[in-house]
């Protein structure tokens, strides 16, 4: 006759054994998954690296220049096509708006410019680009042509 306690221990040991086996199996599967994923990530990194090199190669200025000459109907930008925000006169027919703009003139270099545009500030601002609609008073003049990365076509 088997005593109840012996029966309980045997059952418990069996259950622990089975669940341990299952845990081990699942860990093994996950390990395999991880290994596969890591290999995949490494391969993707390789590909990205290669693509970056190809992208840089495809972006050679001389290459872009010849492509733009063939495919685009755009001329190289001239210095005269650039302007400063302050050079744009305010619309005379909007007095209410001009008043709105006056309380905060500090954000704009030349708010409320007189009819002859104010002289350009002496220090050059290399990155200054005209941006339409940056404040209420600015007329909606289209922004200057974007200078693409080195696509200044045929310098002569």
């Amino acid at each position: 006759m088997i005593r109840p306690s012996v029966f309980a221990w045997v059952t418990l040991a069996g259950a622990v054994g089975v669940s341990l086996f299952q845990l081990k199996q699942s860990v093994r599967t996950m390990d395999e998954d991880l290994l596969r994923l890591n290999r995949q990530i490494a391969a993707e990194h390789q590909t990205i690296h290669l693509l970056r090199a190809q992208w840089s190669r495809s972006n050679q200025p001389q290459h872009l220049e010849s492509l733009s000459r063939i495919a685009l109907d755009i001329e190289p930008m001239k210095p005269g096509q650039m302007a400063r925000l302050g050079d744009i006169p305010f619309r005379p027919a909007a007095p209410a708006r001009a008043q709105d703009a006056q309380p905060a003139p500090s954000s704009i270099p030349a708010a409320g410019a007189p009819p002859p545009p104010p002289p350009a500030p002496p220090a050059p601002q290399p990155r200054a680009r005209v941006q339409a609609g940056t404040h209420a008073g600015a007329p909606a003049i289209a922004s200057v042509a974007e200078a693409g990365p080195g696509i200044a076509r045929g310098g002569r």
């Binding site: 991880l34 090199a53 050679q60 210095p79 005269g80 650039m82 350009a120």
Partner: protein, 566 residues
């Protein structure tokens, strides 16, 4: 009966001892039991202790190799090099090359057919022949892309092997050759940034950022090579530098070479004319003569200087290229590039102070520069009176265009010398510098340089709205024992916009020949200045610099010279 047994037992001693062989056997068994039992007990307690140690006490000290997904980018043997905008200039690519062991290939014809279908550019019949040879190693194709590699693995032909090869690739090899340089087959830097930063590239993974802008590099290269073609020059060079930080934005030396494919070009193409070549600057050096006179206070912009007749010194006669035969003031001497006037200026300053000044502005030593290609100037030794005279107009001294440009930048940027650099500075970084001339001297030099472009020898360098200023220089090439009349170096060094200079621009042509459009002249004003104009225009547009109103009072104020100039 019971009492009888009791009596007997009472007579037996309390301890029952058995003597003889039986007793011995029992003793042995007992000892063995004790030894075996304690051994087992020990083993089990070791196991128990170890279990507790492993499961409870031990921290996960040793790194498990596979715990979480490894998303770090893979380090290459050598770091990338990028330009100031992050455009890749040099990188290492892993390539797999496919080889085969023909002895293990079962069916050469079938294998060749499958490979030819998978890879481009394979001659099937040729490959089949090679695969049926008796050797144990043949190349099938070098440098496969990962995709091709995968395709080859998928067709699963036995006997094929991949060889991992890492290769240095320069996506902009043609235009960045002199700056980036190249490495040997073992990836040791042999030139340019690859050599200068060899250790850094090998040891640290993050990309090395240069101050070069590949777009301006391209602009300079295109314009200089066009000028070289037009004037049949044997070489040319150009430099674009930030006058405030010393960062080199572009550095072009022609003829040049492709870092990817350097075997095809000669050694001459690798010569860096900007940093390694030394040339007599000629009149471009007069900037320093004028600056030293202004800085020592021995002259001002209106000081009259006698240039009526040539100066004789020993067996030399110093004359002007376009003699004016009159007394000119300093501004006119600079504008007309008068040699005689420059000598007059130097005579007042004196030999020792001249040398002291040139040393102070960094012209008598090699500039501090990262690239291994960096030449020291050739200066007169001993510094005689005659040397003083010739040096005042840029003869008898040779220096690299880089050294000339760095010192000229100090003349126009407010008087601070900053070493040129090929590495990108962080925006807002305070760049250490050394004051070499006063702010006032620098402002006057700006006016003089602007005058040269406005009314002097470099009128065709002018770009409306950008206040280009500079100084031309045309020097006959030095050969053993004298100068060659027919071979000259024509150069221009200047900056823009002159009211508050941002960029220094230098260009030179080696042995330009005049043509019909220049009326046969090959001087810098004719052959270099027009290219400067195109370079300034394109660079200004690229960087979005809006043109200035040159008539505006505060601009005029900074550019006018209050003396009569004719």
């Amino acid at each position: 009966m019971a009492s009888r047994v009791g009596e007997i037992l009472a007579r037996v001693p309390a301890r029952l001892t058995i003597d003889g062989t039986a007793k011995e056997a029992l003793e042995t068994a007992r000892t063995r039991l004790i030894v075996a039992g304690s051994l087992f007990a020990l083993a089990f307690s070791v196991i128990a202790a170890r279990l507790v140690d492993v499961t409870v006490l031990r921290e996960p000290r040793e790194q498990r190799p596979l715990r979480i997904a490894d998303t770090r980018p893979q380090g290459m043997d050598r770091a990338d090099i990028v330009d100031r905008n992050g455009v890749l200039l040099a990188t290492s690519l892993v390539n797999q090359s496919l080889s085969a062991n023909p002895r293990l290939v079962l069916d050469p014809a079938e294998a060749a057919a499958k490979l030819a279908r998978t890879l481009n550019g394979i001659n099937e019949r040729d490959l089949a022949q090679r695969l049926s040879s008796d050797r144990s190693f043949v190349w099938v194709q070098r440098n496969l892309t990962p995709r091709q590699q995968e395709a080859v693995i998928r067709i699963g032909i036995p006997g094929l092997q991949f060889q991992r090869e890492e290769r240095r690739v320069y996506p902009h090899g043609e235009i960045s050759g002199h700056v980036v340089g190249f490495t040997d087959i073992d990836k040791n830097g042999l030139m340019g940034a690859e050599q200068a930063f060899d250790e850094r590239l090998k040891n640290r993974g993050e990309p090395l950022q240069l101050s070069i802008d590949i777009r301006t590099q391209h602009i300079l290269r295109e314009e200089v090579s066009a000028a070289m073609r037009e004037f049949n020059a044997i070489g040319g060079a150009a430099l674009l530098m930030d006058v405030e930080t010393g960062e080199v934005h572009a550095m072009v030396s022609l003829p040049d070479f492709d870092s990817n494919n350097r075997g095809s070009d000669g050694q001459d193409n690798r010569f860096n004319r900007i940093a390694l070549g030394t040339y007599e600057p000629g009149s471009a050096f007069k900037t320093f003569t004028a600056a030293m006179a202004l800085d020592y206070g021995t002259a001002n912009l209106g000081t009259p200087l006698d240039a009526t007749r040539p100066i004789k010194s020993g067996r030399f006669t110093i004359s002007d290229y376009k003699p004016q035969h009159r007394v000119m003031n300093l501004s006119e001497v600079f504008m007309h590039s008068s040699n005689i006037g420059s000598v007059r200026l130097a005579e007042v300053i004196g030999r020792d102070r001249q040398r002291e000044f040139l040393s102070r502005v960094g012209l008598l030593r090699a500039p501090s520069f990262e690239l291994p290609e960096n030449a020291a100037p050739i200066v007169p030794n001993p510094w005689r009176e005659t040397s003083m005279m010739t040096v005042s107009f840029g003869h008898g001294v040779s220096l690299s265009p880089l050294a000339l440009s760095a010192s000229t930048a100090a003349m126009v940027n407010g008087g601070i010398y900053r070493a040129p650099t090929i590495l990108r500075r962080q925006p807002g970084e305070v760049v250490p510098g050394e004051r070499v001339v006063s702010q006032r001297t620098s402002e006057q030099v700006r006016r003089l340089m602007r005058l040269v472009v406005e009314k002097g020898t470099a009128k065709s360098a002018n770009v409306p709205g950008y206040l280009v200023g500079g100084k031309t220089g045309t020097a006959e090439k030095v050969v053993a024992g004298g100068y060659r009349k027919d071979a000259r170096i024509s150069s221009f060094v200047g900056a823009f916009p002159m009211n508050s200079p941002k960029f220094l621009v230098y260009m030179m042509l080696d042995e330009p020949k005049g043509n019909k459009s220049t009326y046969g002249y090959a001087t810098a004003g004719w052959v270099v200045a027009p290219t400067i104009q195109r370079i300034v225009q394109r660079v200004a547009v690229l960087y979005g610099m809006p043109p200035l109103d040159e008539a505006a009072p505060e601009v005029r104020d900074k550019m006018t010279i209050n003396v009569a100039v004719r």
